[in-house]
């Protein structure tokens, strides 16, 4: 236990150090004229811009817009993905019926549908939510499906031996047993929903971090552009870490076998 804590702390220290070193290097290569700041800006310039965008409120507005689309898309993906996944995991016919769409979704890049969504929903939030929803849907659906479908045979047999009925097996064994797998799917879905929002915002929006990145990019203002990029990275890290934490807590629900 003690070495465990020490190791974790050591990892944290090393990670922070390499992070700082990269930051310093980034600053130095520009200060010494090795790389043109137009391409990569500098940490100090990005910091300055961050303060500006915080003060004029634009960063907050853009972050809020992105999070709003993200929450809508993820919420939809969770409801639809878990709903369909449970259905397909429990009923073979439902799985067979849904299979072609899943193959389709796996093979075709979702962004390709972007113009179609613009035609249907116009530029802005509805299209962004639709794209991000499709991004997040697949892992949530696929994990829910496999979690329900691969219900532990031994537990099922025990339940059957005590006279369990199909709905008992579904609610008492299959559903709780699938929770760790579903949460793992959610973690993937969260990252993909955020990616979907930002990608869609790059193409057409009037607010949001993706929009902000595209806007400053067109203006060739690298330092300003770096602010929303860093914010997106930070959001991604926070959201994924939060889900990883929940995932670890459900890990104890995984079935262990003695032999």
């Amino acid at each position: 236990m003690i070495t465990d804590v020490f190791m974790r702390r050591q990892a944290l220290i090393l990670g922070t150090m390499s992070f700082i070193i990269i930051g310093v290097l980034w600053q130095l290569v520009v200060d010494f004229g090795i790389v043109n700041p137009f391409f990569i800006s500098t940490p100090s310039a990005v910091w300055q811009e961050l303060l500006v965008q915080l003060q004029d409120g634009s960063l907050l507005v853009n972050t809020a817009a992105t999070l709003y689309s993200f929450a809508l898309a993820l919420g939809l993906a969770v409801v639809v993905g878990i709903g369909l996944g449970v259905l397909a995991g429990w009923f073979r016919d439902a799985e067979a019926a849904l299979e072609p769409f899943i193959w389709f979704k796996y093979s075709a890049p979702t962004v390709a549908f972007y113009p179609l969504f613009v035609a249907w929903l116009g530029y802005g939030t509805p299209t962004i939510v639709a794209i991000a929803f499709l991004f997040a849907l697949t892992p949530i659906y696929a994990n829910t499906l496999s979690g329900i479908k691969n219900v532990d045979r031994d537990l099922k047999r025990v339940a059957t031996s005590f006279g369990a009925r199909p709905h008992d097996i579904f609610f008492r064994i299959a559903l709780p047993g699938a929770v760790p797998v579903i949460v793992a799917g959610l973690r993937l879905g969260v990252g993909r929903a955020l990616t979907g929002v930002v990608v869609a915002e790059l193409f057409g929006a009037n607010a949001g971090l993706g929009y902000s990145i595209a806007y400053y990019a067109q203006m060739l203002q690298t330092s300003r552009m770096m602010v929303p990029i860093v914010t997106v990275i930070l959001l991604g890290v926070i959201l994924t870490q939060a889900l990883s934490y929940i995932e670890k807590r459900t890990e104890a629900w995984r079935v262990v076998h003695d032999n």
Partner: protein, 264 residues
């Protein structure tokens, strides 16, 4: 009257991914009296688990009949409970929750479920661990929960499929003694599958020796040792004699297997 009556039982297996059907066990007849403790031994693949699971109502009977207290077996029933080799506990439930599980599935009406479960947990010596989750327990403790779960539904017949197979030798011996202590309490009819000869003799009134291809009964040996038994009995001449007889049986079976493998 016999509690469990098996007559000319045959169970077929379908090879995975083919239509080929072969008999896992064939023409098995066996009578077990109420309150008798019967072990089934045999080399792997002799169908001893299949026989037990058929009494549990968990595999389809192809030929013959099984009756329990006169009623034919057609599926699982509240008159029987199974202790599987894998403890198969629900990881999201506590010890208490797991012992309650069988009662819940059977829609137990014999009183308060938690009270009933707790008394079984005390019986297997886990009172202090009622709130623990399975991953916090040792293999032996998990198997105690498994046994408590089966006993909780108060079955007429207790069916055990190599319940100590995954435990280390020492824990196994302790669990055998514990099982006898618990069983002596109300002497339920018990059917116990094992590949451990000592374990079979130590626990049983009768040891059924099975052979392979297809699974059949070679001999039923009555174990005439006084009860209650303790580990000291393992060193008595009678015990040694039973052990010798059973070993000879199984060795013959193993030699046959070896011969067949070489022929193939």
């Amino acid at each position: 009257m016999a509690e469990i009556e098996i007559r000319n039982l045959g169970i077929d297996y379908r090879k995975p991914n083919s239509d080929e059907v072969f008999a896992a066990v064939d023409d098995i007849s066996l009578s077990i009296a109420a309150g008798e403790f019967v072990s089934i031994v045999g080399s792997s693949g002799c169908g001893k688990s299949t026989l037990l699971l058929s009494v549990a109502g968990l595999v389809k009977i192809a030929r013959g009949t099984i009756t329990i207290g006169g009623r034919p077996v057609s599926g699982p029933g509240p008159d029987r409970a199974v202790v599987f080799q894998d403890a198969s506990l629900l990881p999201w439930r506590t010890v208490l929750g797991n012992v309650r599980f069988g009662l819940e599935m059977q829609r137990w009406t014999g009183g308060d479920l938690t009270e009933r479960a707790m008394s079984m947990i005390k019986l297997v010596g886990l009172a202090r661990f009622a709130d623990y989750h399975p991953h916090q327990l040792s293999g032996g403790m998990r198997q105690r929960v498994n046994i408590a779960r089966a006993l909780a539904v108060d079955p007429q017949v207790l069916l055990m499929d190599e319940p100590f197979g995954a435990l280390d030798a020492q824990t196994r011996e302790i669990m055998g003694g514990e099982l006898l202590r618990i069983w002596e309490g109300d002497k339920k009819t018990a059917l116990f599958v094992t590949h451990d000869i000592d374990e079979a003799i130590f626990l049983s009134d009768k040891v059924v020796v099975m052979g392979r291809n297809p699974g059949h009964i070679k001999e039923v040996i009555a174990i005439d040792l006084p009860r209650p038994r303790t580990q000291e009995i393992l060193d008595t001449p009678q015990f040694t004699e039973y052990r010798r007889r059973l070993r000879a049986h199984l060795a013959a079976d193993m030699a046959g297997m070896h011969f067949m493998e070489e022929a193939a």
